[in-house]
Amino acid sequence: MTDSPVLATRALTKVFTTGDRTLCVLNGITLSVQKGEFLTIMGPSGCGKSTLLHLLSGLERPTSGDIMIDGQSIIGLSRRRMTLLRRAKIGFIFQFFNLLPNLTVRENIALPLLIGGERPESRRAHLDALMEWVGITDRMEHFPHQLSGGEMQRVSIARALANTPAIVLADEPTGNVGTHVGEEIMRLLRACADDRGQTILLVTHNAKDAARGDRVLFLNDGVIASNYVLTGPEVNERRIFACLQELGI
C-alpha cells in the first residue's frame, strides 16, 4: 500500500427527492482508500451501501461533496467521460452476477476489453490466465444459463478483472451463492488485492466475508460510524460481529 489514495470522498451527500418528500441516504461521507487496500463496508439494508458504490463508480451523481479517483475529481465529468473513466479504472462484481445471457463465458469475460476497443484475440493469454485463475477454464464455451451460481460469480470476477482495473467494487458478491462457494469467492477477492495490487471495495452483510478485508467501515443512517472503524488485527469475525451488535445492525 502507498500513501496516495486511489479513491477518496469528501463530505459526500446523496438526497433522493420524491414529490415533496426528501430522503437523505448518505450524509457527509468522507473516506479514502489506498491502492491495494481491501476495504469492507457493512451496514443494515437501506443504509446506503449500494448507493455509495454507485456514487463511487459514477453511476449516480452525488447531491454534494466530491469524489476523487486517482487524484482526479469525477464531479462535473460528462456522462461519456465518466463512462470512459469507469471503463479504465473500475471493475464491478454484482450480487446477481449480471452476465449477458447471449455471450459465452469467454465472451463475457472479454467484454470489457472489447468495449475498450481491444481485440480479445490479442489478449488471449491474459484471458486464459484469468479463467484459469478463477477456475472456469473448462466452462469457457458455456453460456450463463448452463452455469451454477458459483461459476457465474467466478465469471463475474474474471470479467471485473479483465481490464486490470485499479478499483474493484463488489456489491454483496456472496449474497447469492452457497457458503462454500462464497468462501472461494472471497479467497479470490483477497488474492486480487494481495497478488494483483488491486483496490477492493466490498459491500456485504456477512461478517465472515468482511473479516477478509484490511479495513471495515460501518454505515448507519447515512453516516460512517467513526468509532467503529476496524483496521489491522481488529478485523476479525468476532470484533465485526460485536460492532454490528453495538450499532444495532
Partner: protein
Amino acid sequence: MNAVFLLAFRNLASRKTRTLLTTLGIAVGVATAVAVFVLDYNTLITLKIKEITAYGTPDLEVSTAAGDPASFAADLARLRSKSYVQRVTPLFFGTLSILRPDGSEAIAVAGLEQDASGWFGGYHVSAGHDLPDSGGHVIILTERVSARLGIGIGDSVRFAERPDLAFRVIGLIPVWLLGQRNNGNVGIIPFWDGWRAFRSQAVSPFYWVKLNGTATVDAIRADLGPDHTVTLPPHVLAGETGDKKVMRDGVRVSGLLTLVLGLYLVFNSLSMALAERIREVGLMQAVGTTDRQIAAVFLVEACVMAVVGAAVGLIGGLVLTRLLMLFGFSSLGTGTRVWMFRLPRERLVQVVVLGVSAAMGGAVYPLLKARRLSVVEALKQRGLRLEIVLSRRLYALLVAALLIALPAGYMAAASALRIPWRQGLPLVVQTALLFAAFLSLIFLAPSLTGRLIRAISWPIKRLIRCEGFLVERTLSRSTARIAASLGILTFVFAALVGLKHMTMSLRLQSQRWVDPAVGGKLFVSSRLLSPAEYARLTAVPGVRAVVPMSHTIPAPFLIRGLPADGLRYGLFSRSPDLLRRFTSTPALLISSQLAHARGLKTGDRLTLSTNGGPMTFTILAVTDEYGYFIDERFFGVMNLATMTQAFRVETSAANQFVIVLDERADENRVKNELIAWYGGSFELSIITGGQKRAWVIGGVTSDFRIFDFILAMTCLLAGIGVTNALVIGALERRREFGLLQALGVTPAQLGRIVILEGTVVGLVGGVLGSGMGIPLARIIVDGLALVSQLDLTFTLSPRWLVMSVVAATAISTAAGLYPALKAVRVDVAESLQYE
C-alpha cells in the same frame, strides 16, 4: 374500480410506448383494409353508374334466334309470361343517314318502346313527348342532333335508307344515357315500326329484362333453352369480369393481408409482452389472483387496444380513402376516377370485428401458454422465454396448414367458381412451398437464421468491433426475439420484389407490342361518318390512309374488318403478295396476344360460322401493326369486303378510325391540321400514337399504383413491428443495458448497439425478402400470364433486389432510433440494483 380493470389500465398506462405501437399496429392494419374495401366499393359503384348513365338498367339482356317480326313477337309474348320476368322490352340499335339538302348525316338509331325509358331508365325526354304506345313514324332526337341540323319538334326527317317515309320529330332527349351514343348523335324510333322499316339496318333485336325474385342466370338460361342467349348488361358486369376482376381481387386480398399482417404484429406484441411480464403473472398468482382474473386483465388490455385501434383504423381508413380518391386512386389503379363515396357498412363491420377479435385471440394464445407454468416457475424466471411463448409447434402447425390448406382452398374455391384449377394448381403449390420454406427458415430453424445473421453482421463487426460483436451475438443467439420482425420484413419485401417484377414484366411486354401497334398513327373518334366523309380526311397533308375501325364481329374473338386499300403500310407494304392473299382468299391476321392466348401461329386454319355456313380462314401473319384501336389486345383482322360478304356487317358509316401517317409526318402537326380542318364538323377527338404509347407504358405503372399504396402501408406496419419488438426488447433488457454502461459502454455506443440491431434485422429481413421475392416474382408473373393470357416473361431486376434490401434496412434502422433512446435513458444504478 374493479381490480381487473385497475390492473389492466395501469399496465396500459405504464407501458405507453408498447400500448401505443400495438394500438397503432391494429389501426394501420384496419385502416388499410378499410381504405381498400371502401375504395373498391366506390370504384365499383362509379363503374356501374358510368355504365348505367351510358345505357340503362336492365337486369339481363336476352337475344333470340327469332329473326322476323312475327316470330319475335311470339317469342316476346312467351318471355313476358315467365314468372321470373317482371318486365321486358324489345330494342335494336342501328345506323341511319338523315337526308339533308346537301347530302346526308349518319346518326345512331335505337328502336325502343316506352318501357325502355320508364322501367329501364334508358332515356329521358327533355322536351316534347315520349314514344306513343301505338308506334308510328315518329322520332325523338338528341338535343345535339336537333341543334346541329336545325331540326325541331314538329319537323319531319327522312332517311337515305327509306326516303319514302317521313318521321315526325315528337321530342328531344339530352346527351345522356342512350343519348350518349355516337357522340350524342342519336335518334329514337318506335321499335316495331322502326324494325319493319329498317330491317336491314337494324342490328339483331334483343330484349331488356327486369327480373322478379332471385332466379339465377344459369336457371334462366336453362329455362329459355339454346335459342336464347342470356347475358348480363354492362353495369352488372362493370368491374366484375376479366382482368378488372383479377385486379380488384388482388387489391382486396392485399388489403386483407395487410390487416392480417397488422394482427400478427399485435399477436406477437402481446406474446412478447407476456414473456416480459411473466414474473408479474407469477406474483399475481402468488397473492391470490385466479387464472380467470389474470386472463381478464390481459384480455381487457387487449380489448382496449383492439377497440381503440379498430376505431382509429376505421376513421383513418375513411380519411385515407378520401385522400386516395383525391389523388386519383381506384381499386383498378389510377386510370378510373372514383367520385362516389359510400360506405359498405356490412364489410366495414366485418373488418372491425375481425380486427378486434383477432387482437383478442392474439392475447388468448400466449395466456394459454402461460397458464401451464407454476407460480414458483413464473416467480423464479426473470421472464418467460420467448421460445416458450412463441412455440415452434405453433409455427410447425402453421406451415403444415399452409401446405395443405392453400392448395385445398384454391381447388375448392376454383370448383365453386367453376374455374379450371389444374393449370393454376402447380403455381399455388409452389406458393405454399415457398411460404412454408421461409416460415420454417425464420421460425423453425433458428440455427440457420443465426448463421445468416452472423454472415451479414461480419462486415459490421469488422467495422465497429465492440458494437458489431454485441449485436451479432445478441441477434444470432436469440433469434426467437427477432423472428417476428424478420418474418414481417421478409414477407413485405418479398411482396415488393414480386410486385415490381410483375409490373416490369408487364411493361416489357407492352413495349414489345406497342410500337408496331401505335407508331406513326393517329387514333380518331368522331360522329358517324359516311365513307365519302371520312375519305376527305386523306386530303390533310401527312395523312397516308384512313382506316375505319368500327366494323367488328365478336365471335369467336374480336375480329375487325379493315378495308384492304387502307393497309398499304407496314407488313403489307413489305410483302405485296401477302396483301394479295389477304384480299383474295379467306384470311386473317391475328394480334400477338391472341396468338399467345390461343396457341395460334402463322399458317394455322380457323373455321368460323358465317351467315353462309362454316368458312375456313388461314392465318396469314401474327402482327400488331393492324387492328389495334383501344384497350383490346386479343383480336384478329379480316378484309372488310370479306367480312361484309360473310357476316353481312353494316358498313355505311363509321365513327372510329386509325389514321396512318406518312413516314416523315409529324403526328402533332397532322393532328392539329385535322382538328383545324374537320374538328368541328366531324366532332373529331384525336389521340396521337405518342400519347397512346405513353398511356400504355405509363398505364402499367399507374394501374398498379394502388399496390404501391398497400405496400407503403405494409412497410409502415413492418416499421411499427420492428420498433415494437425493439422497444419491448429494450424494456426487457434494461438490466443488460445498465450493465453494459456499468462496464464502460458509453451512451453513444449503447445507442449504436440498439440502432445496429435494427439495421442488422433490416439487412437480414431485406436479404431474406429478396431471396424469397425472386421465386415469388416468378410465380406471380407465371400466375398473371395464366390469368391474363399475356405473353409475360420473367426478367430479374437486381435494382429492385438491392432497393428491397436498402428499404428494409432503412425502415428497420429508423425503427431502432426510439428504442435506442430508451436504452440510453436507462437508469443504470436502478437497473442493476434488483433481481
